[in-house]
Structure formats: C-alpha cells, structure tokens
C-alpha cells in the first residue's frame, strides 16, 4: 500500500529539515491527490473523504502521512445510476459527520455541467475498515435537482446543526447559488413541511439558458460549508473556476450570520445572496486555485481543509490542511505559507 505524505503548513517548519532529506523537492509538498476533501476523527485516526469512484477515503494518524483506504462504495448506488442522467459512477464532494454512534456520509451524483443531480446519504457505525461492524448502508437520495425545473444544483452537501440541534443541509453549485434545507431528525430525508432558503448567490446573467450552469463571470459559486464558532455561523463558499488544473481560479470566501438561515453578511456588510463574500484564501504562483473547503476543530485548533491545484505537478489537485487565523473582529484567514509556494 502506497504511503502518501503531505504536511499541514503549521507543521511544515518543524518538519522541513527531515523532508529535505527525505527525497526530491517535489516530495516536500502536498502529494496527496484529492478533490473536495472533508475530514473526521475516530479513535485518534483521521479520515478524509473526497470525490472519486465510490467516494475516495484516506486515513492518517497525524494529519501528515496519509494512506488510501477502500472507497465507501464498491459499486455506485443503483438509484443514482437509474435516476441521474449521464451519471458515470464518480461520486462527488462528500460530507462526513458523526452523531450518536453513527457516521453520516452525504455524496453527490451528477455529471459535469448539468443540474440533473442528486445528493444521497449513507451511514456506518465505524470508519475502520478492519472493524467487523464496518459496512456502509445506503439510504438513497435526500434531494434531487431537475434541469428546467430547478435553477440550482443538488451537489456539494454539508450538514450543520443549528443552536437547537436541528439538522440542516446546505448545498449548491452555480446556477442561482447555495440552498439551505431543513432535514428530518434522522438526517436521512427532508423535514416536512419543507423549509428552504437561498443563502448565497452571485449575479447570473438573466439571458443564460437555464441548462447553462454559468461561468466565471456569472453564477460561479459552490461548495458551501457552515462552521459554528463563538455564536456565529460562518458560511464558506468557493468562487470562480475549479477543475481546470493550472488555469483554475478557485478561491474561498466567507460571510457570517447569527442565524443558520442567514442573512450571511461579509466583512463589509454585503449579503452573500447578492454577491457578498470576504476572501479567506486564494491561490498563487504555485497553487493556481484553492477551494472547496471544509472546516473543523481538532484538539482546540481550527483547520481549513481544502484542495489546491499544483502548478508544479500538471495542475493536479492536492490536499491542504491549514490552521485558520481569526482576526480581532473574528474573521477567518488562511495564509498559504510562503515556503510552500513553489
């Protein structure tokens, strides 16, 4: 089994000497190829779930050295193959969470540039594939979008609990932006009656055909992640262009709200529904675009987990885990350490 290595920026300085000895220059940097990473810890082991066939899985004991694990699904869920046109088996942009003995994995079934999509959900009691109880149980679709009906795209899910413990799912990509929908108590379906909100959007040129996702000048917003801290809900989203290797212009912006349903305002008070968003992190010379983040607190430290397109490696997406810096007004920033810029 191949051992993959990456270093979080904060840990880099401590380890850089060892790394320089360890191999060629390329090896110093983030070698773990992932797209749309999310993370959870179980019994001292960290697991990353990411876009891939059957949902890709990695594990690590130290957030530095990662090894691939079996995908969550050996076969794509049958319902997705049946109901999502042009679905080819790669499950996108998962979300992982733990509650009351159960790990809940949301995942996206779609095809590039289309909003004929769905978000499904599976559960497991353990993430350790060597545990005899390990088994992902699929519960089917939670929400589906239909071209021509919906001006939104049912991909890029993220679960958040409000202060009352009510589960909500944020999701969305392009078209008219990011949705928030209330879930049932078991988190496996929508709550009834349905409660929906649009929480972030960017201007969409109104004469775009409805089958058109938009582009970097129009509608380019996706991958919401809501992180609770000190009485605020922080809504992170990714703007601009993913998935174009060294041409990617992906970046992470944020707004915050006292209510999970918004409005989420940026640092200048602009509403994220109307194009607001304050920069958290963007790419540079070495990392063309960075984005599709998640955010977690591990051992009292807040981390932003995301991918960046590695210009030095043909624009391949790599795993980043960086400490979040909070300024005195409680706005988050992440610095791509200068030493990691190639």
């Amino acid at each position: 089994m191949a051992i993959l290595r990456r270093l979080p920026g904060p840990l880099l300085r401590a380890s850089i000497g060892a790394l320089l000895v360890a191999g060629p220059a390329r090896a110093e940097h983030y070698d773990v190829r992932v797209h749309d990473p999310v993370m959870v810890e179980q019994n001292g082991t960290y697991y990353v779930f990411h876009t891939g066939r059957g949902v890709g899985v990695l594990s690590s004991d130290d957030m530095q050295t990662w090894e691939p694990r079996p995908p969550a699904f050996q076969e794509p869920p049958g319902w997705a193959t049946e109901t999502v046109p042009r679905f080819r088996g790669s499950l996108w942009a998962p979300d992982i969470s733990y509650h009351d003995g159960t790990y809940t994995l949301y995942y996206s079934a779609s095809s590039f540039g289309s909003n004929d999509s769905a978000i499904g959900v599976a559960t497991n009691t353990t993430l350790d594939p060597d545990d005899p109880d390990y088994a992902w149980v699929d519960h089917g679709p939670v929400v589906r979008s239909v071209r021509g009906r919906d001006l939104w795209n049912a991909i890029d899910p993220n679960l958040v609990l409000d202060d009352q413990g009510t589960p909500w799912l944020s999701f969305g990509s392009f078209w008219s932006g990011i949705k928030l929908v209330r879930l049932s108590e078991d988190r496996l379906s929508l709550a009834r009656p349905q409660e929906w909100h649009t929480i972030a959007a960017r201007n969409r040129y109104w004469k775009l055909p409805e089958a058109d996702a938009g582009d970097t000048l129009s509608s380019a917003i996706e991958a919401p992640f809501i992180f609770k801290k000190d009485g605020w809900y922080y809504l992170f989203v990714s703007w601009d262009r993913c998935c174009a290797g060294a041409e990617s212009t992906y970046k992470v912006v944020v707004g915050r709200s006292r209510d999970v349903t918004g409005p989420y305002l940026d640092r200048e008070g602009e509403d994220m529904r109307f194009g607001g968003g304050s920069l958290v992190v963007r790419g540079g010379a070495a990392w063309a675009g960075v984005g599709h983040n998640s955010a977690y607190t591990f051992d009292g430290t807040d981390y932003l987990v995301f991918h960046g397109y590695d210009v030095g490696d043909e624009g391949r997406p790599k795993l980043w885990i960086e400490q979040i810096e909070w300024d005195r007004d409680a706005w988050p920033r992440v610095t791509l350490d200068a030493e990691t810029e190639r």
Binding site: L151, K179, V181, Q194, T198, W206, R273
Partner: protein, 364 residues
C-alpha cells in the same frame, strides 16, 4: 381547523365591499368572472373561474348565463394540510376533456406568495349537474412550489396534448416565469423521468428577495427592513417578472403561447395585457413577431384594456376556444362602469396574413 377558517371568513367578510351575488346574466359582459376558461359539453357551454370552491356558470347560447353550484363544496383535505389557513378561494382553473373524462385543474395559493400547488379533479361523461352520472372526484396534487426552493409559482395551469399526443401542463406566475412540464399518461401527475422547460419569463431584478414575486407585495415580508428605500421604490414601480396565466393553442403548424403581462386584481388600476409568441415545438423557443424569445421578455400584444377601450381596463388571463369554428379569446377585463369588477369577455381572434393573432377589446 375548518370551523376556525369559516369563523375568520365570517369576521372578514363585512370589511370587503362585495357586489350582490349575481346568479344570472343576459350577456357575457354581465357575468362576474376572473380567470375564465370555457368548454362546450353536450350542447351547453360551461364556464369556470376563480372563486370560493371555483365559480361555475352555464349557458346554451353564450348570451344567457346561469350560475351553478361551486365545484368544491369543501376544500380538498390535502389543501388544508398544505395551507392550513386556506379559505377555499380557488384560483385560475383549467378544464380539459380527454377520452370521456373531464379534468379540472385548479390553483391553491395566497396572494403574493409561492407557497402554492396545482390540483386536479375529474368527472366522467358529463358536466351537467342534473345528470345522475355527474360528480367531481378530487385527484389531489399535481405539482407544488415551495418558497426558497422554487423560483416559480405553481398556479395558473393549462393542459394541452402535443401533436404526438403527449400531455403537457404549462403554468406559472411571476418569479422566474412560465414552466412547461410533461404529464403522466393519466393526466394527474408529473411524468417520470421528469421533463421541464421554462417557456416564458421577464427580467427579474436579481437582488429581489426570493420570497418576493417581483412586485414587493408579499404581505409576509417587511419591505422597509428587507430593501433599501430606493430599491423598494424601484420594485414597486417596475414590472419585474410580471408574467402569468399561460395558454398554449395549436394552429396551422405553430404552438401559440398566450400569457398575461403586468398587474391583475387592482380593478381599473390593473395593467394586465395579453401577449403571444409561437413555436413549432411545444417546448419552445416561443418567439414573438420580432423574433424575440419569450424566455427573455419577448411577447407581441394581442389585446389590452384601457387605451384601447373606454369601458374595459386590463384585459387578461385568457383562454382560447373555438366557437362554431371561430377562434375566440375568452378573458376577463375590469369594468369601469361597475366599480372595476371583472367581467367575462368573449372576442373573435383575427389572424393576420403572417399568422399573428389580434383581438379588439371593444370588437365582436
């Protein structure tokens, strides 16, 4: 819940100036109706319109009219689950006849909101309440719109079969415009796999709140806090997204889509007008006379009220019916000689040499 609704109704009623309940009329222009649809069955014309339980009228000659009992004596139970406050005031019906069954589609909603649904009821063989075989059966919901989820409003249905016999329903009001959805073969549900299209829309200012139809008239919203003052004034003065009440009519190789633009329901202050576009495919694109797509604001005027008439304001929300071989526009307009109450107009459609329809609101 029903008792509470009736109580609220009884309390509210005296505050609203209602005309005396008219039960007969000797001309269409004397029939108080809103959002009319017309069908002929066994030699009698039946007219359905917005009203408590749905207004129903009958006529043998389109001149002498008599009011029949409302279609729904009580609100269908599924509607009360969806809209507990619903007062059985049902909007914008559509009547469709196929294979011995009459399908009555209807809209349940609340003014200014898109917490709405379209339902359907059926009756077989006859529309005549005197016939022992007569009786409507509610078939429940066809489609629902959810605030925050949908940029469209599930009201104002109209059903048509395309040239291949496939049933479609067009519907919509404000927000992102008019939808077309394929129906299941039994005509009471959306087809699977789903097939949807937007077939008409008007520009909608993108910073409008999603719960705002486009005219800042949702009574649930506090507009003073929702928008800056200048944006609110702009919204109220503009016709952002003001398109509704689609009807698709096939003639001579084209599907014609009629819609109503601007504002209904304000008596002689209303600004409704009927515009049209056409397409060789039912899914569009529907182009107006100048070649503008209706999805991007296109539409050629068919008829309107004021300016073209002294008596009638804001003709709109039309049906298209062939009457003794003459294509006719069936619609309502607000009567300046009767406190702006809406009345039934039935007017001949004139097709010009290029196949474009016009209607004179004071014409035959």
């Amino acid at each position: 819940m029903l008792a509470a609704g009736l109580l609220a109704l009884a309390v509210a009623a005296p505050a609203v100036a209602q005309p005396a309940r008219v039960t007969t009329a000797s001309a269409p222009e004397d029939v108080p109706i809103h959002d009319p649809v017309l069908i002929e069955a066994d030699g009698t014309w039946y007219l359905f319109g917005t009203g408590r339980g749905i207004d129903v009228w009958a006529s043998e000659d389109l001149r002498e009219w008599r009011r029949l009992e409302p279609l729904f004596a009580e609100t269908p139970p599924w509607v009360l689950e969806l809209l507990p406050e619903f007062g059985n005031h049902i909007w914008a019906p559509d009547i469709f006849h196929h294979d011995g069954t009459y399908y009555l589609y209807y809209s349940v909603s609340a003014f200014g909101r898109n917490n709405s649904a379209i339902g359907v009821a059926t009756t077989t063989r006859t529309l005549d309440p005197e016939d022992p075989g007569f009786g409507w059966t509610d078939r429940g919901m066809v489609v629902q719109s959810v605030p925050g989820r949908d940029m469209w409003n599930a009201i104002d249905p109209h059903v048509i079969r395309d040239e291949a016999g496939v049933p479609w329903m067009s519907f919509g009001s404000h927000w992102g415009g008019i939808k077309l959805v394929r129906l299941a073969p039994d005509l009471t549900a959306v087809a699977e796999p789903p097939e949807w299209h937007t077939i008409a829309a008007r520009h909608r200012y993108w910073k409008l709140d999603e719960r705002d139809a486009g005219d800042s008239a949702n009574p649930e919203l506090d507009y003073e806090t929702l928008y800056p003052k200048e944006i609110l004034e702009l919204n109220r003065a503009s016709e952002s997204g003001a398109v509704e009440a689609p009807v698709i009519f096939w003639r001579d190789g084209f599907y014609y889509q009629f819609v109503s633009w601007d504002r209904c329901c304000r008596g002689v202050e209303s600004t409704y007008q009927v515009v049209v576009g056409r397409s060789t495919e039912i899914a569009g694109p529907y182009l107006d006379r100048e070649g503008e797509s209706m999805v991007w604001g296109g539409g050629t005027l068919v008829t309107r009220g004021f300016e073209d008439s002294e008596r009638w304001a804001a003709g709109g929300h039309n049906d298209v019916v062939s009457i003794d071989g003459t294509d006719s526009l069936v619609f309502h307009a607000y009567d300046a000689t009767d406190e702006g109450h809406s009345k039934l107009l039935i007017r001949e459609i004139r097709w010009d040499e290029h196949g474009w329809p016009t209607v004179e609101v004071d014409g035959p």
